[in-house]
């Protein structure tokens, strides 16, 4: 750790205090919150304002005597983040600003399995370019882009395997970064969707139901990726050791009970929308299928909570629209099977973002990178900003 890291760390510290304060804090408030002196905070704040990361707002009316404080807020016209998503039947893009607000969104439907990876990425690049133009029109300078894919991704951004897209060893950053003129990160959609569901909780798990079932594990506010980056494979947690064989080679994986294919097959319907309509209309088969899936999901989730002691579970992907029927079954299993459930309540709820969670989370991960290391943003040449 060197001296410049000290300053970088303190810039991030000030920014995080401003971001998490309920009301716009003054420089003096930030100083007491961080333990730094007012002189230091002033210097740091000047740097952050110079880089358009925070802004002063008019003095809030306050009781008592004294010079009024200038409130500080995260700037809504500083750097933004570009989120991208490739999924089986659509492409999506969105732009968020530093406050986390979504400023632009676009979705383009179409089956991507029929196309080779290079062609899909070309389509993605045009959608991204439109989003970049929209961001520019809003006065946002993009700090980078992140792509969500349903598959295993290496730390360098290569998609090692995305079975449902038919991708194998696709070097996404090489294909997109040059075309966009932005650094492009790539991550699993469950991981990125998890980051989009903060809800003010520090530790939670986002369960992503798609063809496969993934879990994005957030511990102490940080995504937990595991020793090698392959954590959260909830879909292959065992529900019944001698259950039906899974395409992974094992038997009785959760995916065989609560994966999209198993769910639709058991219910005898063709799509998730159809399933939701059927169960809402009182179809017995659909209700049974959802009860079975909810129970299996509950068993796997209860085991996860026993191990990780998280207090919140967010159901996303196809589970979000089906939540009214799934949540009670999951909660019932959790209540019985989690050892500490009696005195440490667990909340199970649906993702509020629905299918947009992954794109929004991807864009959010970019601005999160700026907020975690503002110094890197500040020291880039002004021409880029």
């Amino acid at each position: 750790m060197r001296q410049e890291n000290l300053r970088a760390h303190n810039l991030a510290l000030v920014l995080s205090v401003v971001a998490s304060a309920p009301l716009p804090p003054s420089r003096a408030d930030v100083a007491t919150a961080t333990g730094l002196t007012r002189a230091t905070v002033s210097a740091l704040v000047d740097d952050l304002i110079g880089g358009r990361l925070i802004e002063e707002v008019g003095p809030a009316p306050r009781a008592g005597a004294g010079r009024p404080a200038a409130g500080l807020v995260i700037s809504a016209c500083g750097p933004g983040g570009l989120g991208l998503e490739v999924n089986v039947d659509y492409l999506a893009a969105c732009v968020v600003d530093l406050t986390g607000a979504v400023r632009h969104r676009a979705v383009r439907g179409g089956d991507q399995r029929a196309l080779p990876a290079a062609e899909v990425l070309t389509g993605m690049a045009t959608l991204a370019a439109e989003a970049r133009a929209a961001a520019h029109a809003e006065g946002l300078a993009l700090a980078g882009a992140a792509l969500a894919v349903p598959g295993l991704v290496t730390p360098s951004g290569v998609v090692r395997l995305a079975p449902n897209l038919g991708w194998r060893d696709v070097d996404v950053p090489a294909a997109l970064s040059g075309a966009l003129g932005l650094p492009v990160g790539v991550d699993n959609e469950a991981n990125l969707a998890a980051l989009a569901s903060p809800a003010g909780v520090a530790s939670y798990v986002y369960v992503s139901g798609e063809i496969g079932i993934g879990a994005g594990i957030v511990l102490h506010g940080e995504l937990f990726r595991g020793a090698r980056g392959w954590s959260g494979e909830l879909g292959h947690v065992c529900v019944r050791p001698d259950g039906p064989p899974c395409r992974c080679g094992a038997r009785g994986c959760l995916e065989q009970y609560a994966g999209q294919e198993a769910l639709l097959r058991t219910a005898g319907v063709a799509s998730v929308a159809e399933l939701a309509a059927a169960v809402a209309g009182g179809a017995a088969g659909a209700a049974v299928a959802l009860a079975t899936a909810g129970e299996a999901l509950g068993v796997a989730i209860a085991g996860m909570i026993n191990l990780l002691d998280v207090d919140t579970v967010v159901l996303g992907g196809i589970y979000a629209p089906l939540a009214p029927w799934l949540v009670p079954a999951v909660e019932a299993e959790v209540r019985v099977r989690v050892l500490t459930a009696g005195w440490a309540p667990v909340t199970v709820r649906a993702s509020a973002l629905g299918s947009a969670a992954a794109v929004v989370g991807a864009a959010g991960s970019v601005v999160r990178g700026v907020r975690d290391d503002p110094a890197r943003w500040l020291q880039r040449p002004a021409a880029v900003r």
Copy 2:
């Protein structure tokens, strides 16, 4: 973060490089490893040598020209840590030095359930005083003490509940800290035992088999305690949703297949030692019992690895002596059920420390505290050292 934190951080950085180097590194080696300059490293090393945290060793013979380097090693006569353990049928104490070497160990048998908590702690205090005298005789100054207990502990060190000891709301630090003249920390035995099994791996899980089954989860070198401190309840992960009822109220928990009681009952023996002797002697019933337990343990551990992506599992407690028969069964399940097992190998092995893991881990947690923040040790008055 202030300036003195910068120095404190760099002191810890230098100390950790010296600790983890395979051979005693020179100041120049430390400089290249840390990215600091040789001048800065020299100044930091002088501070650390002055505080007896590291020592110079004679120049190692080296090829090539140049002034010979003075090797640096963690000092074996600097601060030490006192580890204590209260368990159902014994009290234990041990002293480790800053290198992690055990310098003193004492165990006093005796059923602790018959005695009130205050009396047990008085016995613990005398054993601890003897250990402190032994540490003094070896030239070690104790930096603190840590007590391992089989129960739930609050962050402040109060034992909220230890069912097998019959303890409830026992304020251990208040009882021991004054008598010993040392700060006393308290933690669950599985957590502390987990810390005693480093093996040079950053992320691993220590599975503690006792009456219950616990797991100490170490991620990125740090113990993961969960949102509320109750992580690692592996014993109540579900193996078969409709299995035998468990005392926790659920069905088919791992404890019902691989807990000590289930294991001994299935094998038809009275103790773990007897079980090990039976299976070594070729008894079929014992072998079947161990195979069943190993399979169930494997299913639960595979699920855990799917979620956490750790690459090493350490079996401790009663599983350590039974490891030759359990490890193959666990490995077989892991191979089949962990999605990434094909390209990311998982190691399953027995704890080398056996029943001493918790005391040694407790003592280790104290010296770990010194190594993680050497500045605090350096700035305490010399009289205490």
